[in-house]
Assembly symmetry: C2
Homo-oligomer: 269 residues x 2
Amino acid sequence: MDLRGPLADVPPVPRFVPGGLPVLPLAAHGALPPAPCGSCPVRHLCLPGALGPGHGRILDNLLIGRKRLRKGQKLYREGEPFHFLHAVRFGSLKSGFRLSDGSEHVNAFHLAGDVIGFDGLADGNHPTTATALENAETCAISYARLMEGCAESPELRDRVAQLMGVQLVREHRSAGLVARRHSEERVAAFLLELARWMRERGYSTREFHVRMSRADIGSYLGTSLETVSRCLSQFAREGFIKVRSRHIELVDRDGLRAAYADRREEPAR
Amino acid sequence: MDLRGPLADVPPVPRFVPGGLPVLPLAAHGALPPAPCGSCPVRHLCLPGALGPGHGRILDNLLIGRKRLRKGQKLYREGEPFHFLHAVRFGSLKSGFRLSDGSEHVNAFHLAGDVIGFDGLADGNHPTTATALENAETCAISYARLMEGCAESPELRDRVAQLMGVQLVREHRSAGLVARRHSEERVAAFLLELARWMRERGYSTREFHVRMSRADIGSYLGTSLETVSRCLSQFAREGFIKVRSRHIELVDRDGLRAAYADRREEPAR
DNA sequence: CGGGCCATTGAAGTATGTCAAAGTTTGTGG
DNA sequence: CCACAAACTTTGACATACTTCAATGGCCCG
């Protein structure tokens, strides 16, 4: 295998203006002033993580503003230029992109504390559209200033790298969901993943409101919305869960896992 | 929605010893001495990218060694601690992880110039296993030193961020493949993606050797190996391609795209 | 040259997609 | 605050693309 062939189409490194900040695109949407990380209830899940003292100043310097989204509103759209990362303060969002037939493929769901938008780094444009599943609020993080902060703080460098690693692992995980042969396994694994998300945020893992439609779930899992609905009904018949539209109660999580799900899931609690 | 619930299970930031380098795990495998990036034929696709002059010193400082892999050998395994990123010098690899039923799910394929292992950043362990599809050679990049380099060079920071973004976009793309309803669309889109990879590396996009087995392709595409084989035979019958085991000739790429694939694919050439 | 791995092809059963209709929930405007 | 409309969910029936099982054939490596 000779590797000395001509090299074509080397992707350009996106040019991020280090000093001059593109604040305007955000302001145009009627942004709110930034909120300091120190008092944010989900800071431990978010960019600040377990960063040591002295990072308050650096962190607050990254924040350009907040953005309030009503259900269905877009945070950014497929193809738009990338300027900011966005941290979810509250509410939830979905990411997706259009397929050839015009339908949307849902790629990921985002909850409070998630930092999203990293995929825009590849070529300087967002490859996905982020849509609010309910009323939500996000913090815009200047990517340019974040990089400056990384020059200063090794801890911040590791944290940013870690967050991107988490994004990758999530994609793996969702690929793992879709890889399952039977739709019951996919839906069961999805419910357990939901429970994990809830636990990470300190909520009850026994019952929760699902913010996404059956169509969103189906798209995410690579199956039809009817199949999702049928699986949920089946689990309910079998006594594993109780379903009332978007309110779901996990009556027998271990039973559900034993019957359908991956052994690699952490045991419980 | 009250967010002030107790926060549990904050993931630990992995501790990367900045100075003390874990060289041993690599040396134990019988590593070769590092090769300078400057003379590497795939440097434009790899970490160096379009980095300006003066980065030669920084780059060569990152390289710990090379590793030669025979077909079927593992570069790293699921669960092993993360120390290095790996750049593919030549050959090709697959990434995958075990599912509950013991089968392997193939997550990605890697070709010369790819930098892999970023997913180990999430918690300091590799979530996937990387296996050589043919004889291959990789450069081990010290993550700790890479971070140090990022402190120095803004360009390197952007490049690393870009590479991680590319990883994310690839995962999106592969998710987009699997999201397609019909297996013919998946296989057709996969062939076109293969052609793109070849083009990026300056090879003929008309004919190439597929290094992965039908089982690998099937796993990657979320379908069975038999279905992959049947689709290829069908495309051959329809005159779009010629197949002789792993040697594939793209006779009518545009026809294939028109018949099955995503309109969002770039036009051609 | 032989053996093992991999690819191909066939046949049969089934899980799941699609279409359709009825029943709920949610949101809006009067 | 109520009532209506729109959006979403559930359930059923049917068609089919896909998986599975199985057997043959080809390729590559030792």
